[in-house]
Every structure is written in C-alpha cells, then in structure tokens.
C-alpha cells in the first residue's frame, strides 16, 4: 500500500480551484484505492476549497494563500484545508435541505455524502480555519 503526505499552497481566488483539482488528481492517482473514488474525492476537496473562496473571503480574490494537505496512511485519507479568512462558525454551516430546490449548502451536502468525517478547527497558530476531511478505505 502506498502512503504519502503532500501539501501545496494556492492563492485564494476562484481561478485557482482548477489548480487545486489538478493537484489532488495527481495525488489520488498514486493509489489504486483512491483512483477508484477519484471523482468524488476531488469534488469533496474542491467544494471545501470553494467554500474558502466563497465564504471565508466573501468570493473576493485575495493575495492570501490557502494550504491543501493530502495524507494517505494505512488506508486512511485525510484532506486538510487551512486558510486565513473569516473564522468559520461550525454551527452556521448547514447542508442543503434536499426538499428545498436551491443551490446553497449543496457543496457541504456533497462533502458529507462523500467523506466519513468532517472536522472544523480554529486552533492553528499560522492559520485561522483548519478543516479536516477523513475517509477510511
């Protein structure tokens, strides 16, 4: 089984979401297990990165960077996102009610569907928000 841990920083802007996906795809292709779930995993990560641009930075491009760290150890995938934007209030994050036909909250719903665990932290010294997405394979 291949284990890895890599990170990369990206300037916070919507144009970089494509680069975030490219970075993730390159890593997920390293493992046969991850490769089988690549589309879903890339979607979960991209939705979380999009939430940083959209909510932590109110959709405005910034010179700040966000850090994406992807680790795969003994079948446990951990995707971590760090940013210096507006602090996230976890209680305010609600997935979309599926009976309500609108797009808001859909990204959070997708993340919950794809990943096993979603953890918000705000304790990192160099960052404001720290989101951890976990999935066991």
């Amino acid at each position: 089984m291949i284990n890895f841990s890599e990170h990369k920083d990206f300037e916070v802007n919507s144009g970089n979401l494509k680069n975030v996906r490219t970075f993730a795809r390159g890593l997920f292709e390293k493992s046969e297990y991850l490769q089988n779930y690549q589309e879903e995993l890339v979607l979960a990560l991209a939705e979380a990165a999009q939430n940083i641009v959209k909510h932590a930075y109110n959709g405005k491009a910034s010179n700040d960077t966000m850090r994406i760290k992807i680790s795969y150890t003994e079948g446990l995938l951990e995707i971590e996102l760090f940013d210096k934007g507006k602090p996230v209030v976890p209680e305010n994050i609600k997935p979309r009610n599926l009976d309500d036909i609108k797009a808001g909250g859909l990204g959070t719903f997708f993340i919950g569907q794809i990943m096993d665990e979603v953890i918000f932290k705000t304790s990192k010294v160099d960052w404001v928000n720290h989101l951890i997405l976990k999935k066991q394979f």
Binding site: L17, K18, I101
Partner: protein, 99 residues
Amino acid sequence: MSYKVLEENNIATVYLDGEIDMDVTDKAKEVIIPLIEAGKEVHINLKDVQYMDSSGISVLIESHQKGQEMNTRVVLKEISKSVLKVIMMAKLEQILIIE
C-alpha cells in the same frame, strides 16, 4: 469552459465543454438565462463536460427555475457520466428535465 450555441426554430441548444466550477458559472448563466428570457426552449448539452461542482449544479437549477417562470422548457441533453453522478448525488434527477 467553452461553449457554443446553435439555434433552430424556437430551440436553442447550448453545448458546454470542459469543467464547470465557481470560476465560470457567471459566464454559463450569461449564455443560458437570456435565451430562456427570450422565450426559447433551451437544451443544455453536457456530453463534453468532464467536471461539475455545486456551482455548476446551481446554474442548472436556476435555469430550470427561470424556465418555469417563463413557461418554457429547459432540457438537459447527453449528460456525461461524471455530471450525472453529481446530479444524482443532489437528488435532482426527478426535478430537472433530462432527455
């Protein structure tokens, strides 16, 4: 994302291509919504869309709702496998018009 629009009689077919995320949703809406507002039946062909996230899905939802408002059909055509997976994850396959 790139696109082309073909119009025949009162049907406008919008062919979208590439990856549809937050960065290109305004562009997609600028193409699709005016066609619906003009009262055309709009077909959105998604066979060449390799990736779509929740922002892309929002374009489909808004287009569908605008179609209802204008009393015209917005139909999704030739949906790629990856996009269909996301539509189904959002449980929208019974709501959006898919042919």
